[in-house]
Amino acid sequence: MGRSGGAMAEQHIKLPEGSIEKTTTTLNLGPTHPATHGVFQNILELDGERIVSAEQTIGYIHRAFEKIAERRPLYQITPLTDRMNYCSSPINNMGWHLTCEKLLNIKVPKRVDYLRVIIMELARIGDHLICNSIVGVDAGAYTGFLYLMQYRELIYEIWEEVCGSRLTTNIGRIGGFERNFNDIAFQKLEKFLREYPKVLKEFENLFQRNRIFMDRTMGTGAISAERALNYGFTGPNLRAAGVDYDVRIHTPYSSYEDFDFTIPVGTTGDNYDRWLVRSQEMWQSLNIIEQAYKKVQEFKGAEAEVYHADVPEYYLPEKEDVYTKMEALIWHFKIIMGEINMPVGEVYQSVEGGNGELGFYLISDGGRTPYRLHFRRPCFIYYQAFEELVKGGMLSDAIITMSSLNLIAGEMDS
């Protein structure tokens, strides 16, 4: 009898230090969570619904690409770059090829440049399409996502015609492409250019002036241009804050200077501006693809068969030549066995990826493999700002902010 009184007074549960006095809730958002698109974790301190602080943990999909790249000849690094921003892997591949071409002083023919532009802009449309429809999903509207995904399938089919893969494409080679674009690829491209504008317009009608969507996204997750620049933002997130920095205009690569397009810029840098900027960029990308396709069709005769530069040290020769000619056999052997030495030097090349400036810093010491390869990954750099974007806001706004920033775990962690 006396025991029960004593038992009530004892503490049977061991509580963590300070947890009774604590007034905020700790919420663990991730790493496996349907709302976080990829594996990264946020530990949020909530005061009711308001976020007091947020701590990010990343590295769940770190695959040591920079270390692996020190052991691989240049063409074997392309599959690693695929897997960084896997929603727009052709852009990563092309960026890597451009870095190699800069190091090796390779001049690429115009037709190859225009074909690369088509592929990169298709990848950009694919990336922005996913991001915008996922922002819709996180706000509760699932239909737009499924409707638009059909057109991502069409983009995949175009890539499949050129390189054989849909998602992690390993598209292109140093100096050009592995094969010429066949008629089926061009037919699929024409189908895309015919059908996608109508679909994009329908998608925009669903969200752009939708009262609920605007109330959810306007004013949340805002950042000023000065803070965004200080945080190293690039790409649509920076342009939504008002700074018109686009690598395609600042340091044109792959003949982007031959195209006529505008850069959409926002004002407040909030979720709604980011959504609008991405949507407008999709229209601009469609415009660029149409111009590029017209330019490609202007090449006639022998010029229309050009799909790579003449770089015997890095571009595999035709198989018929390997079996019949001596030099082709030697080059084939040297390339496959990795016995080609790179020139000494260090080069930094960047491209406008789906999320911003994707940079490659390559240091070569004259060996067969890079001495050091560093990827400047936009997602990694701007995810630091997440706490500042969501502090003081509500939990549901944090979810939308996370998806509107277009965080892709593969690019964050490399």
Binding site: I58, G59, H62, A64, E66, K67, I68, R71, K102, L103, R227, L229, N230, Y231, G232, V243, Y245, H250, T251, G345, E346, V347, Y348, S350, E357, G359, Y361, I363, Y371, R372, H374, R376, F380, I381, Y383, Q384, A385, D413, S414
Partner: protein
């Protein structure tokens, strides 16, 4: 007047004199180095100067040169003047015994995680960093993996069985210290019966 690499070099020499050195132009980007104690002074100069205006930190990384004794680790800053569209590369070298470098997070908030990544992979200690802990690797890791002395794979792991790939297994092809084919270190250290398994 147009901002050229020559002009930037002149301004740097005039401000820092002999302390900045190693001016080269690799693929149109001016590259130079300075002693590691001056890294913040140089970064602040490049940021504040009204003609130079390098106000964007593109990236920050480290490189390990095991042969350069006393200067093994290099920290490389890539800066960008967005308005005039000029890029510049700035390197500081430090020795590997005490790799202390002042943090740039006061100037560029972008440097926060970039320096954490550099610490995680190379062990560069950034003095004054608000939260210098590992970011991409597990917290318990006690070595710095991107340094050249560490091989591509962790040779101490015992959870993989690569026998089907010609590595490890009873005959131990492809290993010299640890037998990857065994489940625990104790089992791996038992003497192997020679010739019991035929490949």
């Amino acid at each position: 007047m147009a901002l050229t690499n020559e002009y930037i070099k002149t301004r740097l020499l005039e401000r820092f004199g002999e302390q900045v050195s190693g001016f080269t132009e690799s693929y149109d980007m001016l590259t130079f180095e300075a002693p590691k104690d001056l890294n913040l002074k140089v970064l602040n100069f490049l940021y504040d100067d009204e003609q130079l205006k390098f106000r964007f930190l593109t990236t920050l990384c480290a490189v390990h040169y095991p042969e350069n004794k006393g200067r093994e680790l290099a920290v490389v800053y890539h800066l960008h003047n967005i308005v005039d569209n000029i890029r510049i590369r700035f390197k500081v070298y430090t020795d590997i015994v005490q790799p202390d470098i002042y943090t740039a997070t006061g100037l560029f908030s972008a440097a926060n995680w970039l320096e954490r990544e550099t610490y995680d992979f190379y062990g560069v200690n950034f003095i004054g960093h608000p939260n210098l802990k590992r970011i991409l690797n597990v917290d318990e890791m006690d070595y710095f993996p991107m340094r050249k002395e560490y091989p591509l794979e962790d040779q101490t792991r015992i959870d993989k069985d690569d026998e089907m790939f010609g590595r490890g297994g009873k005959l131990g092809f492809g290993t010299d210290t640890t037998d990857h084919g065994k489940a625990t270190i104790a089992e791996a250290e038992k003497p192997r019966d020679a010739g019991a398994d035929v490949i």
